[in-house]
């Protein structure tokens, strides 16, 4: 492989949901963790199961399987903690996955207008064409306007 080719390659994390594999840009991944206790409380946002505690942060758990493979996950092996952008802010979101994750280097083909909004592009790996996911479009979040008045991520308790 020439140096020019190497420069075109990007790093991706392959994740498994049931029988299918998807990819996320490695730069969007914070960590891969074993499933831990999910804290659930009433809310009305679809796809959000609850939250986990990770390194002192409260991280929402978002099951994207229904959207990607048409059914919810019955078991999960890891949580892939990805970075999600909300206007100028970023937050972590935990995506349950069913199998091992793999770091690969590949060249991405950009998504076309006919692709779903959550598809950032496509990569080819071991003869398989894999969707690269856009977490900003895949996971729920408020509209841009409502973010302007949002609070800081962490507040000190009032006296």
């Amino acid at each position: 492989m020439t140096r020019a080719n190497e420069l075109d390659l990007q790093s991706f994390v392959l994740l498994r949901l049931g029988e299918r594999r998807f990819a996320l840009s490695a730069g969007q991944i914070a960590e891969l963790v074993a499933p831990s206790r999910i804290f659930r409380f009433p809310h009305r946002t679809p796809k959000i199961e609850g939250v986990i505690l990770r390194r002192g942060r409260i991280v929402p758990v978002c099951d994207v399987a229904e959207q990607l493979i048409g059914k919810s996950l019955t078991s999960r092996r890891f949580y892939l903690i990805a970075v999600r952008h909300y206007a100028q802010q970023t937050e972590w979101v935990a995506l349950p996955v069913t199998g091992e994750c793999e770091l690969i280097h590949s060249e991405m083909t950009d998504a076309s207008t006919s692709d779903a909004p959550y598809v950032a592009g496509w990569i080819s790996h071991n003869g398989e064409v894999i969707e690269v996911l856009n977490t900003d479009a895949l996971t729920p979040g408020p509209s841009g306007e409502s973010l302007l008045g949002s609070h800081r991520a962490t507040l000190e308790a009032r006296p």
């Binding site: 009433p42 809310h43 946002t45 937050e91 408020p142 000190e156 308790a157």
Partner: protein, 176 residues
């Protein structure tokens, strides 16, 4: 030469909270937001049933002097299975009396994390944020989030005598 002022170690401020249960679910509320805690039995004499309730979660009203408090069933508000409420929190600076199952304990929180942006529906009004207590995460309710301004207006209108209600409706009718 002026020396930089020595850094003072800032003590963490804490906020007293009441942990309470509704249908088995644990919530927290700032104790400063709770004006009074009453048992349902002790409030029964002062409560009146709303003749034709306009929302399922509010079926009773409590008169306190010239003020009317609407009794909000917390289980219905949060969409939890119904449970026989035993206590009522009269919430300070609101017109809400909150029907809950019971108090778990008093505690203190030192950090309140804003609700992650992934939560983007009514829950943003319901909660001030989340707090981690004893390796658990508890939502901290917003006392003003149980009844919106629109809901309060609807409730007030439903409490008017029929003649006043139709007059009020006529006043708000737009000209043709």
């Amino acid at each position: 030469m002026r020396l930089a002022a020595p850094l003072k170690s800032r003590a963490l401020r804490s906020e007293q909270i009441i942990l309470f249960r509704v249908s088995g679910q644990l919530f927290a509320i700032s104790s400063a937001s709770v004006q009074e805690v009453r048992s349902v039995d002790s409030l029964a004499g002062a409560a009146a049933e709303i003749p034709s309730p306009v929302m399922k979660k509010v079926k009773h009203i409590v008169r306190r002097g010239d003020k009317s408090l609407f009794v909000v069933n917390a289980a219905m508000h949060f969409g939890l299975p119904l449970s026989p409420g035993a206590l009522v929190f009269v919430l300070r600076r609101t017109r809400t009396a909150l029907l809950i199952d019971g108090i778990d304990k008093m505690s203190a929180m030192t950090m309140l994390q804003a609700l992650p942006h992934a939560f983007c529906h009514e829950e943003r009004q319901w909660y001030r944020g989340l707090t981690a207590l004893d390796q658990s995460v508890v939502p901290v309710v917003n006392p003003e989030g149980f009844l919106t301004a629109e809901e309060l207006a609807l409730l007030d209108a439903s409490m008017l005598p029929p003649a006043s209600a139709s007059a009020a409706a006529a006043e708000t009718e737009l000209p043709q």
